[in-house]
């Protein structure tokens, strides 16, 4: 008996792109988490100079970046066809 049918290893260019878009969607929250964890390296010594509005701008800048990236990916990503429908690649 040969094992269960395996999904194809190599894809057409279009499907390949789609998978990479999905990968990017998976990576996005980690990018956000890392960028927003950076403030941890800022000095929090009360004697030291305050970060002030620069910190504010940084946090909100990262936010805008994430929104733009998420919007871009959302526009590129294809919805999974509902199970059982004609477009469903598994049926």
């Amino acid at each position: 008996m040969s094992g269960p049918p395996k999904p194809p290893i190599f894809l057409q260019r279009q499907n390949y792109r789609q998978r990479r878009v999905r990968d990017a969607a998976r990576f996005l929250p980690f990018l956000g988490a890392i960028l927003w964890a950076l403030p941890l390296t800022w000095a929090h010594d009360p004697e030291a100079a305050q970060i002030g509005s620069a910190g504010l701008i940084y946090i909100f800048g990262v936010w805008v970046l994430l929104i733009v990236l998420a919007a871009f990916l959302a526009s590129r990503i294809r919805a999974d066809p509902p199970p059982g429908s004609a477009e469903d690649p598994h049926t």
Partner: protein, 898 residues
Amino acid sequence: MMSFNALIIVALCYVTMLFAVAFWAERRAAEGRAGFLQSPWIYTLSISIYCTAWTFYGAVGYAARSGLEFVTIYLGPTLVMVGWWWVLRRLVRIGRAQRITSIADLISSRFGKSTMLGMIVTVISVIAGTPYIALQLQSVTLSFAVFAQVEGVTWQTAELNASAMWVAVGLAVFTILFGTRNLDANERHNGIVMAIAVEAVVKLLALVAVGVFVVWGIAGGPTQMLERIDSSEIVLWEQNGSRWISLIFLSGAAFLCLPRMFQVLVVENTDERHLHVASWAFPLYLFLMSLFVVPIAVIGLDLLPAGSNPDLFVLTVPLHQGQGGLAVLSFLGGLSSATSMVIVATIALATMVSNHIVVPIWLNRQANQHAMFSGDIRSVTLLARRLSIAAILALGFLYYRMSGGGTALAAIGLISFTGAVQILPAMLGGLFWRAATGIGAGAGLLTGLLVWMWTLFLPSFGVDAFISQAVMDNGIIGISWLRPQALFGISGMDPLVHGIMWSMILNTAMFVLFSLVTFPAPLERLQGAQFVNVFDHSTAARAWTAAAAGAEDLLIMSQRIIGSVKSQEIFEQEAIAQGKPGFLPEVTPAFIERLERELAGSVGAATSHAMIGQLIGGSSVSVEDLIAVADEAAQILEYSNRLEAKSAEQERTARALRDANTKLTALSIQKDAFLSQISHELRTPMTSIRSFSEIIGDGNMPQDTLNRYAGIIHDEAIRLTRLLDDLLDLSVLENGQVVLHEQTGKLGASLDRAVGAAGLHDGVLTVLRDESAEDITLTTDLDRLVQVFINLIANARKYCNADDPTLQIRVTRQSGKVHVDFIDNGSGISPENQELIFEKFSRVADQGKAGGAGLGLAICREIMMRLGGEVLYLPLEKGAAFRVILRTVETEAALEKT
């Protein structure tokens, strides 16, 4: 300045408008024109109930006190939302596939439709949710008080309580009216969703309006605003990292686990694709909600007298500046935030209470009484849901009264979050880990609940309310490592971070540990596979194997739950699908499963499963069934693989047959061509022989003419004989009947023989040879080889059309083979003829010169095949070039070895 009474009227008008919007949406949906109501934008706006009054008013206060830390509450949900591909997509798909009604239903359904787990999650959610509802009542009440203050009336406790009560009553009425119209909790509450979408817009507009007024109206522009922030006393960044990270985690986790968020994200979702838009639009909403928080806080601290409550800056800053209209807008924004959150939270909690606590208990008590009638469970559930809504709001109000509405309440927001987040390990474990068991989930949930109560919830009521100072300092019964804010002796941590860390660690540890050591029930394994593999479309085991119940019993039971109209509709549809309209459908396992899912959309998976189980007689799935299904799937797979292999083999056979047929057809055509060719070839000399012999037979001719005619007859007879010899030779060769006489000799000697025999005595063709290269010993049928050589040399003599015809015979050794090339200096053979020359009767040049039947090269090819070599035409040489390839060197090597 607007009077307080006017404010009340505005508020009432606003609420009336919300009622109208909800009614309108419900009517539209009922008429089947819900298209616009089901847009991704409405979905996104409905998620914004995450931003409650606590964040609407409280964020500014938070920023005034702790700087940027307020933003963590928004960063967590942003990360969850942009990472929707991981968890949310999965949750939404499962929610729709399993008709999940609440987060308690999700946990219960995942772990074998357990009633107990549903109850535990419900209890956790109610305990964690009530303070939050109280917080909303407080916000609305305080905002009323601010306007009363403006009129010079300072509200006392009595007035505050009264207003809180009226707000609670109003909310209860609205929620009951629109939240319990359908029993099917899985169906969308169109009216409510529309109302909260409108409220989402109002609160965003309100906060942005105040923000714009502060930045451009007071500070004078963004640049000046940033300067004011820098010079302000506000400390933007002073915290330690543990709080920053913990709060981002906490808010993200709460975003998934809060019952109200689960309600709008999963239960009210009508289309998975809405997540695509919400994934960026909701972060944008959060961004806009928090953009002006710091500016408002800074300006508030600057302008208002010291000691003002920073939690109300959103209201008091516009009022201080004499912007009454803006203040009213801001008030409506706060009201919107509070009401939308309370409405959805109470619906979610009431669904959980009715489905997972009231109905199971009621059914349990009813078990032996046969007092059932159509729709009785339906009415009990609806009543339970309505009473639960009222009870939860009453609880919130009581909590507000008891806590005194002071700052203690404000601190409870994050503590409430931490309580809700205790569901996270069981939820994520259930989504991604098939081996997670119900006992593990229960152990984790209870442990988390206990640790949370001990470290955060009970201490939040203040010292000596539930936990005495002595216990805080020394731990319970003197065990110091059980101190509520220093578990295991780790002291000095921020109490909140301490509580989050320990509750999550112990919760997860217990969940994993008990999952590892226990064995899941069959139904649990089935559900686990369906949840974890929700995106694979594999053959799922049926939860029901045998159907001992009659269709009538099932119909009666489903009428009890969802009423007669809807259940008859379901049964009719099934009957039509089974091809017997007008009758009751067959009770197949598939139908039972579908019915169970329909009922689960109303009363939850656990109750629905239990009721069907009662009827069917407990013939639910067993371990053996699961294994059988797995076996069956494997067998089907193997069978299909075998079929595939077989069909591939048949394909190959068919192709071989087709090829054979093509070859046969070609052969038959060839044979016909051969026959006609051969008869033509035989006929030509025969014709001349016959006619000349007839002439001779007539007599009367001179001797020399007679001799000439006899000579022609002789020549033609020779030609015939040669032709017949060739044909015989070819037939013998083709049929493999030829006997080879192996001899050993020199290649040079063979070539000598060939050149000698080829009739070159007339000097027409010059032959160029390299004697030294020809010194190769061959073991093969040399006579046959010479025949090939003669043929090639004779061809060159016949067909070479150069003025001074020359034939070069070149011998080379190449990778164990000997190449003998015959290259003349003529014009060669045209490419289209190169393929034909080895065929029988193919003659390229004009027939007169050839004098042969065109069999020579065909014979050469056959001979070389027999000798294990080849003869080819070399297309790249200048003239006609043939290469004879001999495999004799190997034989020679083999001979040397032996």
